[in-house]
Symmetry: C2
Subunit: 340 residues, 2 copies
């Protein structure tokens, strides 16, 4: 099998670390590996499969001779993706910079793997909440069509990076000790609280996170007729995003049929045995690559209604796992670029 030269941009962050874990776990066929980050993190030593790598500062020449660049997120792809593409290195970008660019495929391998094939050098990895939702929506869509989706999220603090995790821990301790710990990463105290506000506010008072769930889902599913409305909420949970999803399908699907369809779908695990208190919970879905679905119920307020409770690790399937899966598709479909 062909082995690829892989560069990770942002190797020292939470997603970067997880990319390394997943490349290793999935035995991704690596020929040469290069780890890059900002100048601040350059020099950091990272172990990978028994070898020590020294993190380099990302520059325009970092991509020379490389096949695939995994960008962990942030602004780096704005600065360096063009240089990567010009070197013949395919960029898989975790940031939101190119997701809605019509020239860039936005890919969830369980949903639209073939979209990898028309890339022009950049492939975008969707928003974490969006990935987790579409993995559960797609099998329903395929058998019954989807008219409308109403989603309310319960998003973990690690969606805001390591600082989000530290803020929750520090703040919980402070509150229990009667001390102050002013919010920094989040707009308000997150310990023992909920914040119905993720990312900036945009059109119609929806947040950017809420619009991502609408527009990215339509692009990934290649169907703008699927109507979606979202309310996104930060919760004091470390890891894994949860979503309460109400779906109106085109044709009737019983709860039993929905369960059967979801159980057969790739990347999904049905946890729905309420008699034994089995349903997905963020504490137990973290560090897993699959999306978990339960509380599958018919919603009889409309003719073709369904309610689902969906949970997934937003750093794994919501970011790093999905990115590595896209890299695997690049090899499978043999659509790397010529090195220049």
């Amino acid at each position: 099998m062909k082995k690829a030269n892989v560069v990770i941009v942002g190797a020292t962050g939470a997603v970067g670390q997880e990319l390394l874990n997943i490349l290793s776990e999935r035995n991704f066929p690596i020929n040469e590996l290069k780890l890059c980050a900002t100048s601040r993190s350059a020099g950091t030593e990272i172990e990978f499969q028994g070898r020590t790598y020294i993190v380099e500062e990302t520059t325009a020449t970092s991509f020379k001779g490389m096949d695939i660049a995994l960008f962990a997120g942030g602004k780096a792809s704005l600065e360096f993706s063009q240089a990567a593409v010009e070197s013949g290195c395919v960029v898989i970008d975790n940031s939101s910079n190119y997701r809605m660019d019509p020239a860039v495929p936005l890919v969830v391998p369980e949903v639209n793997p073939e979209d990898v094939k028309w890339h022009k050098g950049i492939i975008a990895n969707p928003n974490c909440s969006t990935i987790i939702m579409v993995v559960a929506l797609k099998p329903i869509y395929d058998v019954a069509g989807i008219k409308r989706v109403i989603v309310s999220t319960y998003q973990a603090v690690s969606g805001a990076g390591k600082e989000g995790i530290e803020e929750l821990t520090g703040q919980v301790k402070a509150v229990l000790n009667g001390q102050e710990y002013p919010p920094n990463k989040f707009s308000h105290q997150i310990a023992f609280n909920l914040i119905p506000h993720i990312d900036i506010f945009q059109d119609m008072d929806y947040t950017k996170e809420e619009w991502k769930m609408v527009k990215e889902t339509q692009k990934i599913m290649r169907d703008e007729q699927v109507k979606i409305t979202a309310t996104t909420v930060r919760v004091p949970v470390y890891r894994s995003h949860s979503e309460s999803i109400n779906i109106e399908t085109d044709r009737k699907l019983s709860a039993a049929e929905a369960k059967e369809v979801l159980a057969k779908a790739p990347g999904l695990i049905v946890q729905d045995d309420v008699a034994n208190k089995v349903y997905p919970m963020p504490l137990f879905t973290s560090d897993k690559d699959e999306v978990f679905v339960g509380r599958i119920r018919e919603d009889n307020t409309i003719e073709n209604g369904l309610n689902l409770w969906v949970v997934g690790d937003q750093i794994r399937k919501g970011a790093a796992t999905n990115t590595v899966q896209i890299a695997e598709l690049l090899l499978k479909y043999d659509c790397l670029m010529e090195k220049r």
Copy 2:
């Protein structure tokens, strides 16, 4: 003004304590006050307005000469409400025992105050999540009609009483110290987790809590044509329940119109200034008697759609405040019973 003889059944629990606070804060006109509880709590001393009361064991004779009995919850009303009514003492019951009884009014004073008038001795106080929701739904219903509601809840641990609070605190400390703290009050660990399961599972795999939000809302709003579907979730928050509510109205209501209508409604406070990061959060709505609403947005996936984020203290407005408000209506409408 007429003063009433009031007995509290379950005076030593969380709701009982809050009933006392609220009777005092609202200057409820009390002539004689009697505090009752199970034999286990009998003998407890409780201060109220500068006097010390000794909690008595509830018996069939506890209601002799009393006008109003406030039952804090649980099974006590099954055992004692008949004795109370036979003594000519009106029962206001916080439990779910009589809520769906067609002979018992189910009352939220902001929504259906007049229903107090046809009581036959018992008036039921609705489920906490239901109360918080209907206070926000009613003003919308009155101006635009409501076809359908999709609600996802984020419910605080104090909904499960003092033990729920202790379990969250103990478990959070244990987790941070790397120790075990097995779940007891909740089905699973609640610290840093979400549990999509409140009360027992019933028809169609919905929980009893979810069905309460459907059936009680229809009864309170006196309209079974309002279709409701609910997903109820326990979150690691101490106090105040939050709800993401999607509404389909009969006639179009703009976000601006909805805000205006909600701002004028009794018992509701609009907190919706996203530019200044103002929206309701459970941390800041606790110990308040009002229901708070924000994130008011048009949902353009349907013709007449609205999204709201609603938060309220489930021990205050969701239980004790609503109970005392019903007692106030009994005096206002002069519909106490003849003592026997």
